[in-house]
Amino acid sequence: MGKKDERILMGNEAIARGLVENGCTLIASYPGTPASEILPAVVQFSRQTGAPIHTEWSVNEKVAYEVALANSMAGRRSAVAMKQVGLNVASDPLTRSAYLGVVGGFIVVVADDPGPHSSQTEQDSRFFAQFAQIPVFDPSSPREAKEMIGPAYALSEKYEIPVMLRPTTRVCHSRQNIQCAAPRVMPGKADFKKNPGRWIATPQFLTELHRLLNEKLEKIAQEETLAPRRSLGGSQEKELCVISSGVAYAHTRELLEDLGAADEVDLYKVVMPYPLNRAFVERVNRSYSKILVIEETCPVIEMQLLNPLVEGRRSGLIPGHGELTPDVIEKVLEKFLGRPSREEAPARGKGVRPTLCAGCPHRASFYAIKDTFPQGIFPSDIGCYTLGMNLGAIDTCHVMGACISQGAGFYHAYARDGKDMPTIVVTIGDSTFFHSGIPALINAVFQGARFILVILDNATTAMTGNQPTPQVGILADGHKGVSVSIADLVKACGVRFVRSCDPYETEAFSALLKEADDYTRKSDGGMAVIIAKHPCVLDREAMKDQRVYKVHVSEDCTACRHCLENFECPALVYREDLDRVVVDDILCIGCGVCGTVCPVDAIVVEKGGER
């Protein structure tokens, strides 16, 4: 026996470790909570073990999917990782790849976010697997997520089909002690075998490919090793059974033990919710008088049971929305088992809302935008900068890249009615712009829309952990890549007004906003784009070069709360005992932007601060 290599791994790191240990040679991803830590962990393990793996932050999930898929078509094990709404973006290549199939094992890691904690929907990606007709695994813990990678690759290669691994937030962001093994290098080299009928597959080939896909799924639904397993209940079959998958299974198992009900019910753990094992469906429907299905977030297993008497979402026993926390499942089990209810804990308070960091350049941009155009319409997008809502400086947040098209739509709505055109200021982050803003900008320009687009360029994907963006030219593994200029892209989209400005230069930035507004209203004007360029304050390297001011609030402060409510810097704090605002020196990074905010000039910014 070699020395045991036990580590504490976060679920996302466990998935990464599983990929490295099972011979993955390419992983592509786009960052998004709760999936963001998978790719960096692959980079780290590949560096530690020397396993040769191409890792990339692609510009969006569709691109990531297609890059990884081609590596599989060349016969090599591949993976793509994204959050659940990322799969909406990648759904086009997903559905086609089910028909055409894969060669090297191909795992589609899609992290769902019941709750949702950090997403715009709480959709269930297992439905996407069913829609696209690919098998999906549903891990209940970090350890299990890692252990599923080997069987997922084996299944993918046996049936030449993409396999989805669907962890949820509570698996991705849990940590557990886990055994690690050495990486495995799969034999062979990249070798793409031409096959026009398959890889080009015009409509004439597709009925046959669809027939083959149906046949594959029928066989997968009969795979004995992937059938649901009974994990509680002993040898004798009971009257009652609970069927569960994912982290909901982990909660359920622990609750049944805690409630002393482990001997009253049979608990089945479903590893592969789709396609649900055929024999299992027949057996449970025949054997049990009462069946309860507990799964997140939608009734995927439940609906495949084709049994109207099953308790779960459709019977109303399980709420149709929200995360299935142990507290929620406890109530469900109490009702199902006919137990008295445990005393309700007092309702939880909301807690403190998040806010942009002290010194965040987005705050400077937002304050100037709102201050310059108090009556403006402000479509915005997904990232840290969504927190601009706290400042009243954004009005919409829809899906990645939508803000630019929304800006165009608002323009046409007002232009058609011939009303006074409000100033429309669209804000989008640099990473979001690369992700899906570019086609929207081309469309807006081409269709004659006019508004101000501010690209908040902090040279990173800040919200998800500071992944590099294409204009920086740094690759996922830290090597230098080719940088792609945002200004050049904007010009190439047909925009003639393109300016850059540091939003910390508050006066210049406000003046530029006015100039841009004039341009959108001139007879020979058009779309105006401002690139608000300042590095993220979480970028330690960049902060070394930033000038630091000494900031304090003088006794002139009238406690009018203007700065607290309209600027909301966490370093400006109201002190009750003094009845005025003070600077929290621990949080303040000395950016000096607040110097122009106070109506009575009580915020004093001096040169010569230190950090």
Binding site: H117, S174, R175, E254, A345, C357
Partner: protein, 168 residues
């Protein structure tokens, strides 16, 4: 040994780091461990929570009223998370104001130490000395040594020791 701990605070206070310290301490003592953490938007100064479950558990989350110990790095997160903790006696709050629970001003002590950034470890030191944690102080210290980045190690240990002592 089975123990359930919640760690609560505001994003940026270092809840994640001391979650990892406790998880590492459990493994160093040969115990099973499961944690759950807050990532994403809330990390920007919003209320965050970690669950730490030491011993044989299958769920990473703690139910209301089932945590043995609650470690609150900020009093403003009490409102959201105190109902997780079974008994008042298990609640430890980093604050300079008195309350109906254990209070200790780790932020003030860390500031006097000249290292505000380690107030999380100062508080952990206080908790390690005063709460019936699943492990002794040595295990926590070893865990800090194991997971601290090299340039941060000395300061982290200093913060922890200061918390253990309760003063400078």
């Amino acid at each position: 040994m089975k123990q359930q701990i919640i760690l609560s605070g505001l994003g940026g206070q270092g809840v994640l780091f001391i979650t990892r310290v406790l998880a590492e301490a459990a493994v160093l003592r040969g115990l099973e461990v499961l944690t759950s953490e807050t990532h994403g938007m809330a990390m920007r100064g919003g209320t965050v929570i970690s669950h730490v479950k030491v011993g044989s558990f299958s769920s990473p989350l703690i139910r209301s009223g089932k945590a043995d110990i609650g470690i609150f790095l900020h009093p403003r997160s009490l409102e959201a998370h105190r109902s997780y903790v079974a008994v008042q006696a298990g609640i430890f709050v980093n604050t300079d104001k008195p309350g109906e629970y254990h209070t200790f001003d780790a932020t003030g002590l860390a500031a006097r130490l000249g290292a505000a950034v380690v107030s999380n470890l100062v508080f952990l030191g206080h908790v390690a000395r005063n709460a019936a944690l699943f492990c002794d102080e040595r295990a926590v210290r070893e865990a800090i040594e194991k997971i601290s980045p090299p340039h941060q190690l000395e300061l982290n240990l200093k913060g922890f020791e200061t918390g253990l002592k309760g003063n400078l």
